[in-house]
Symmetry: C2
Subunit: 290 residues, 2 copies
């Protein structure tokens, strides 16, 4: 049970976290700050937060739990804004999709207080953003990756883990590097590809007509192309090295297909498709939707 | 109302068509043939077909409606197998995902009877195949593209259109060439990319671990990677020219992203993502699920 959540960023992720915590009876009071005053006002009106803070610093004042729910590129400045009111009893977390850059920023800015910060990445999201889409069930049944470093206080990692579990999440710990490599492959690259596919189609004179014919396969494949541009701009740039490595591997795999198709080598092509089809058919979302 | 459907190929697409027709009261009797005797036996047992035919030719005998529901590469041989029992009152259709190759095969094989054949592509499917997954609702609320040629009997095109509409489909007519260009962009390329992405990830030593971390975005994006390998082998090869053209456009669009990411050009990257996000957010499945 936490006394006070200091919520910095009251969008989809932050707002849903506050609602989930309240619903689970895990927090007494939520003090929120958003860069946009209209977002904070809406969050207050919706009961996502209980008190509006005029700055990130004041949102943190008196909190025993702090959540940074800002685009990853804003992490460093947000930490700078709050570092003067940190308290040794605080648990500070983020929800960013990349972890190496966040950890680097935390080391640089928090210095001796870096142990309070537990970097977290809940594997969830939606193709709509904003506090008006906040949903107390956004995290339920999802995975959360914690990427503590050697200086992170073990007690804070345990508190973070207990908190996410209480929200119905499956919690794993890994290094920031392992996290970023994995998510370059299974999240950042798929987003990049979905953006590029939609732009490739729409860049053609017949693009709109083509899209009007698309079916349920396209609907699901391209769903992530509708994701928040600002958030994904930051993620793609923050994880650019791992992403570039994964993009090369993808282009190589695509090239294998292109060659077999161009040469009409049906048996080999079927084997290649079979490998993908088999792997995907046997894959299951962990821990699975509730 | 049809007296007798001659169904050649009793898998997911063919079986679902027979069930849909029966449920709508549009056919009195279904005579089915499958290359695999166990499939035909299962279709009979499930009530998908009423009579087992020992050959494609005999499935057609006495039918006023014939559906070819075989992999597109098998279309030509199937037409050869049935051409000696064609009747001027028959409506013959296929359900293949490519249309130029099917139309070429029909011209070559059916010659003066080519007017009986109405090439059709219902925009539906599933990542499971086989008659055991046949579903009378598979076509309801979906688009069906008819690609008649100048020699197709207009009365047969009208009958085909009425039939699909009676199954709850939205019917459009276009040329085989326009069809293949559009579906290379919004279906064949997404499948190719999904296959390549899964193989690219699985080709890495950490591939399985990476996949275990994937979330709902990956689930939807990669769903089509589980599609039927034989069917897609044929589609990718049959439409290889249009597919190659679309693949080049995609790689070009991907390259634009890669450059901006590598150079950290955040504003331009956001604009590029914004274009995709906006286009996808405004897209709707037509005519929409029922």
């Amino acid at each position: 049970m936490f006394e006070q959540l200091g919520l910095i960023g009251c969008g989809l992720m932050g707002g849903s976290f506050a609602l989930a915590l309240k619903r689970a009876g895990l927090v007494r009071r939520v003090v929120g700050y958003s860069k946009s005053p209209s977002t904070t006002a809406r969050a207050l009106q919706m009961g996502v937060i209980d008190v509006e803070a005029p700055s990130a610093l004041l949102a943190v004042s008196g909190a025993d739990l702090v959540l940074l729910a800002v685009p990853v590129a804003a992490t460093e400045n947000t930490l700078k804004a709050i570092r003067h009111l940190l308290d040794p009893r605080m648990l500070i977390m983020d929800v960013g999709s990349t972890k190496r850059d966040v950890v680097d920023a935390a080391r640089r800015v928090l210095k001796n207080d870096v142990g309070l910060f537990v970097p977290a990445h809940p594997i969830t999201g939606r193709e709509v953003s904003g506090v008006e889409n906040a949903d107390p069930s956004l995290y339920a049944g999802r995975q959360v990756i914690l990427t503590p470093i050697e200086r992170t206080h073990p007690a804070n990692v345990d508190r973070a883990e207990a908190l996410w579990r209480a929200l119905g999440c499956d919690v794993q710990r890994m290094s920031p590097e392992a996290h970023d490599a994995a998510f370059a492959a299974v999240s950042h690259l798929p987003h990049l590809i979905a953006f590029a596919l939609v732009n490739g189609v729409m860049g053609q004179p017949e693009g709109e007509q083509f899209l009007s014919l698309a079916g349920p396969g396209f609907r699901d494949f391209s769903r992530i192309a509708a994701s928040d541009p600002q958030l994904w701009r930051d993620v793609l740039i923050a994880n650019r090295e791992e992403l570039a490595r994964q993009t090369e591997l993808f282009k190589h795999a695509l090239g294998d297909f292109e060659r077999l198709i161009a040469e009409g080598r049906a048996d080999e092509l079927e084997r290649l498709i079979n490998r993908a089809s088999h792997a995907r058919a046997n894959w299951r979302l962990t821990p699975g939707p509730r």
